[in-house]
């Protein structure tokens, strides 16, 4: 069956809505807020694929994981327990069914993927040791790691990859089906070699396979209830799961890379309340936890606690429907950008813990265009009024802005936006809606022309595919340009890193100039841990992964 790259993905959209639901359950953190997240799940990396060849880990000497060693010069305890206070509550332990991106950090403990993304965003080998694309990026050949076994003893091989891909593409409610939609077949070449054949150029596949789509489950466990049990080839093995309470993992002794599991046990406690997590951290009952800026005061300056942060690809933005008349004019969209004091919003509402890039990716992304300064749309109400007058809206206009009711920081943020746009004559009516109803009321039924939400861009090609193509599941459908569509096709047709970088940076220029998103701010992704936790790095996306993290002796 031949599929066009513009294929509509209804499943993806259902995942988006699930994400709305699940996300609002979690907590007050920006990360947990109902984001119109990239439904495809593709975790991915703002990075290109490494050239074929042995991965960095393959040369690692085989050492005993329980032997003592040091991380950053500090000796760690190989028998230690790492206790994580997790702010969300996963729906399922099955990476192909759990809709919330952030929870993949947990499934990644037990499930290795075919490729891996480092906290820096680089894609490196994991269960696949090396790979290569054909010239038009429609075929990908992967060479698998030898001698890998799943927790249940089943050997990992090409047949297992094929079985997993079949499952990922066919199970009801698969959150990876859309990201694998272009994959037509997965062929077993020999025991340790597989070929992925796509119906059209698909150079982002290796990126997607670093995420849930590439999670390898033991085929022997397919018949079990994988929402409650896990059987992967990851560094930690599930020993106990009490939904909504705790999930406990122990080191898998036969894991292929002895440098990963530096603690004997990982305990994940589901603690929705940030104050509770702060108390648990301060009293030493957990070792690390995610925090949102608003609650940082509880742990700031406490002895023995370290705060780490970095901006990720998550950002707050206002989505607007170009078919609502004033928004169809690019001058009006640019006027909105100039009318917003984004630095002021960042300081006042996000405690200054954010960045205000003018483009939709953070500086760490390969798509980040260094020629677009952050003040490309500087706060300039006069210029905004001029642009509105040029567009024929000298007296301004009026529109309804939907916000996710009851979830900080959307309420406060929307009030500031209302005031600032009011300054240039744009009258904003705020419409708070129950989070679960927002997507239906806006994107599907188009009852309202705009809404305020958070987005995760991550892999830039996948972001374009999700948000700004005519077929994107979370697009008002009209928000696109021909040039962007061309750039998107070009970006997924090349696996050459330099070529892809140049194309994506052009795409950022287009998105920024045309204001496909009213970007507001990129919040810092914050983690707090005790000073005994060693080797932890805040990742570039929302899925943080415990690899090589230890506890000091």
């Amino acid at each position: 069956m031949h599929r066009s790259p513009w294929r509509v993905r209804p499943l993806a959209l259902s995942v988006v809505f699930l994400t709305f639901l699940a996300a609002c359950g979690g907590d007050d953190s920006p990360a947990a807020q109902p984001t119109t997240t990239q439904s495809t799940s593709a975790e991915s990396a703002d990075s290109t694929d490494v050239p074929p060849g042995p991965g960095p880990s393959t040369d690692a000497p085989v050492t005993d994981p329980t032997a003592p060693g040091a991380i950053d010069g500090v000796e760690y305890d190989p028998d230690a327990v790492l206790r994580i206070g997790w702010h969300l509550n996963p729906t399922s332990l099955d990476p192909f069914r759990e809709p919330t991106e952030e929870n993949l950090a947990l499934t990644a403990l037990a499930y290795d993927r075919l490729t891996n993304r480092l906290p820096t965003g680089e894609i490196v080998p994991m269960l696949a040791e090396s790979w290569g694309y054909n010239d038009d990026a429609t075929e990908l050949v992967m060479h698998l790691r030898d001698g890998v076994v799943f927790h249940d003893g089943t050997p990992f091989n090409a047949e297992a990859v094929r079985a997993n891909m079949d499952r990922a593409r066919t199970i009801e409610g698969s959150s990876a089906a859309s990201v694998l939609a272009l994959v037509e077949s997965v062929e077993v070449i020999d025991d340790l070699t597989v070929r992925f054949v796509s119906s059209s150029p698909n150079a982002v596949l290796t990126t997607s396979l670093a995420d849930r789509a590439g999670s390898m489950i033991s085929p022997a466990a397919f018949d079990e209830d994988l929402s409650l049990v896990e059987s992967g080839a990851g560094p930690f093995e599930l020993v106990e799961h009490r939904p909504g309470e705790v999930t406990i993992y122990e080191r898998f002794d036969d894991y292929w890379d002895p440098e990963v599991a530096k603690v004997a046990r990982v305990e994940v406690y589901y603690m929705g309340d940030q104050t509770t997590r702060a108390n648990a951290l301060r009293s030493g009952q957990i070792d690390m936890s995610h925090f949102n800026p608003a609650g940082l005061g509880d742990v700031e300056g406490q002895p023995g606690l370290d705060i780490e942060m970095r901006p990720t690809s998550q950002y707050y933005q206002m989505s607007i429907d170009w078919q609502y008349e004033p928004f169809g004019d690019v001058r009006v969209r640019q006027a909105i950008m100039h009318a917003l004091d984004r630095d002021g919003i960042c300081q006042a509402i996000l405690q200054g813990l954010c960045e205000t890039y003018a483009q939709v990716v953070p500086e760490s992304s390969i798509a980040f265009n260094p020629e677009i300064p952050n003040d490309h749309y500087a706060y300039d109400p006069d210029k905004a009024r001029q642009l509105l007058a040029d567009a024929g809206y000298a007296d301004g206009f009026e529109f309804d802005l939907v916000i996710l009711a009851g979830l900080p920081p959307y309420g406060e943020m929307s009030e500031v936006i209302q005031a600032q746009l009011g300054e240039v004559g744009i009258r904003v009516n705020l419409v708070p809606l129950e989070p679960a109803l927002v997507a239906e009321a806006t994107i599907t039924n188009r009852e309202f022309p705009s809404y305020l939400a958070a987005r995760l861009s991550r892999d830039p090609s996948l972001a374009i595919e999700n948000y700004w193509l005519p077929t994107s599941p979370i697009n008002f459908s009209g928000v696109t340009t021909e040039r962007l569509q061309e750039l998107y096709l070009a970006s997924i047709s090349t696996s050459d890193p330099d070529a892809r970088r140049a194309i994506l940076q052009d795409a950022m220029q287009e998105i920024t100039d045309q204001v496909l998103d009213v970007v507001i701010a990129f919040p810092q992704y914050l983690f707090v841990h005790t000073d005994r936790v060693l080797g932890f790095q805040v990742p570039d996306s929302q899925a943080f992964i415990i690899r090589g993290v230890g506890i000091a002796k």
């Binding site: 209804p10 499943l11 959209l13 259902s14 995942v15 988006v16 809505f17 699930l18 709305f20 639901l21 699940a22 609002c24 359950g25 979690g26 509550n89 729906t91 809709p99 009801e172 409610g173 209830d225 929402s227 409650l228 009490r242 939904p243 909504g244 309470e245 705790v246 406690y269 603690m271 929705g272 309340d273 104050t275 509770t276 108390n279 648990a280 301060r282 009293s283 009952q285 129950e434 679960a436 109803l437 997507a439 239906e440 599907t444 039924n445 599941p473």
Partner: protein, 315 residues
């Protein structure tokens, strides 16, 4: 007394039926079509929506659905969690001991505080002991439990390190640790009950102590202790027991905040998760369970009051 028991138990039946109708109606209280909501939103595949409609029996007339649901509920089958796929009944039974531990201990703490304080305040009416007890009780009534909980954690867990700040230890893993972990949440939850019960006890005792039969008893030469504990306390107990019964609902409701604050895996935190996840079967199960519990507690209170006051038995 037996006939009273039967009569009171019979009067509970309509309440339970009403409760079950309300709980069943939760499905219809969610915005939009429940099947669509369960399938993940308006863009869910029609096949999936149809499948969910079929599996939930949403295509049948509402009374049929109610009858089927009630029939299963009576047999202890409350359905399966949409979220964790666990049977709701077993999930509730897993979590109920935690909630009962906290609420039970909260009740014990409340009595330990309220009964002596109430007696002292009533017998030293107008004196400093009375003012102190009444003042502390007013403070207890006015303090929101989340604030009290935070203060207790700050002082007794983070500063003094006497009790853990969060978490629950099963009694099977150590009775001492179990108790230690419950002290702060139980105090948090019990404070309001203690304050309320103390004020009720004081008021009831004050009233009883002014009655003629007390003066007669005193005039007859009975000692203060005998007057207080044998004659006054039994007469004053009625209103206090009634208040305690009413507070059972409060304790269950308050456990939502306390369990979340102290990270206790009980019914309260389960209810919060179920709301966030729109896990309707779990929510129905918890509401039904809590509702039945409150009805039964009130039945017990009625019977205790009747035992305390023979005049009520005839009613």
């Amino acid at each position: 007394m037996i006939s009273l028991l039967v009569r009171r138990a019979a009067s509970v039946v309509p309440i339970l039926v009403l409760l079950s109708i309300l709980v069943f109606g939760l499905v219809w209280a969610t915005p939009g079509d429940p099947a669509v909501a369960l399938a993940g939103g308006p863009q869910a595949s029609p096949a999936l929506v149809a499948e969910i409609r079929e599996s939930l029996g949403l295509n049948d007339p509402v009374p049929t659905q109610y009858g089927r649901w009630l029939g299963r509920a009576v047999q202890g089958d409350l359905g399966t969690s949409l979220f964790t796929k666990q049977p709701v009944t077993s999930a509730i039974l897993d979590r109920a001991p935690v909630t009962f531990s906290v609420t039970g201990l909260a009740f014990v703490f409340a009595m330990i505080i309220a009964v002596p304080a109430g007696f002292v305040a009533a017998t030293r009416r107008g004196k400093w002991q009375d003012s102190l007890a009444t003042g502390v009780a007013s403070l207890g009534l006015a303090t929101p439990s989340f604030l009290l909980g935070l203060v207790l954690v700050l002082v007794f867990a983070l500063r003094l390190d006497w009790f853990p700040a969060t978490g629950y230890t099963k009694p099977s893993e150590g009775v001492f640790e179990w108790l230690r972990g419950l002290v702060l949440p139980a105090l948090t939850l019990g404070a309001l009950l203690a304050a309320e019960s103390m004020r009720q006890l004081r008021a009831a005792l004050c009233e009883v102590l002014e009655q003629d039969f007390i003066r007669t008893a005193r005039a007859a030469g009975l000692r203060q202790r005998a007057v207080l504990f044998r004659h006054a306390s039994r007469n004053a107990a009625g209103p206090v027991v009634t208040v305690m019964g009413l507070q059972a609902a409060y304790l269950l409701g308050g456990s939502i905040i306390v369990e979340r604050l102290f990270f206790l895996p009980g019914l309260g935190s389960m209810a919060v998760e179920a709301v966030f996840n729109r896990d309707i079967p779990v929510l129905q199960g918890i509401v039904l369970f809590a509702g039945v519990l409150v009805v039964l507690v009130n039945l017990a209170v009625d019977l205790i009051c009747a035992w305390l006051n023979p005049k009520l038995r005839a009613v």
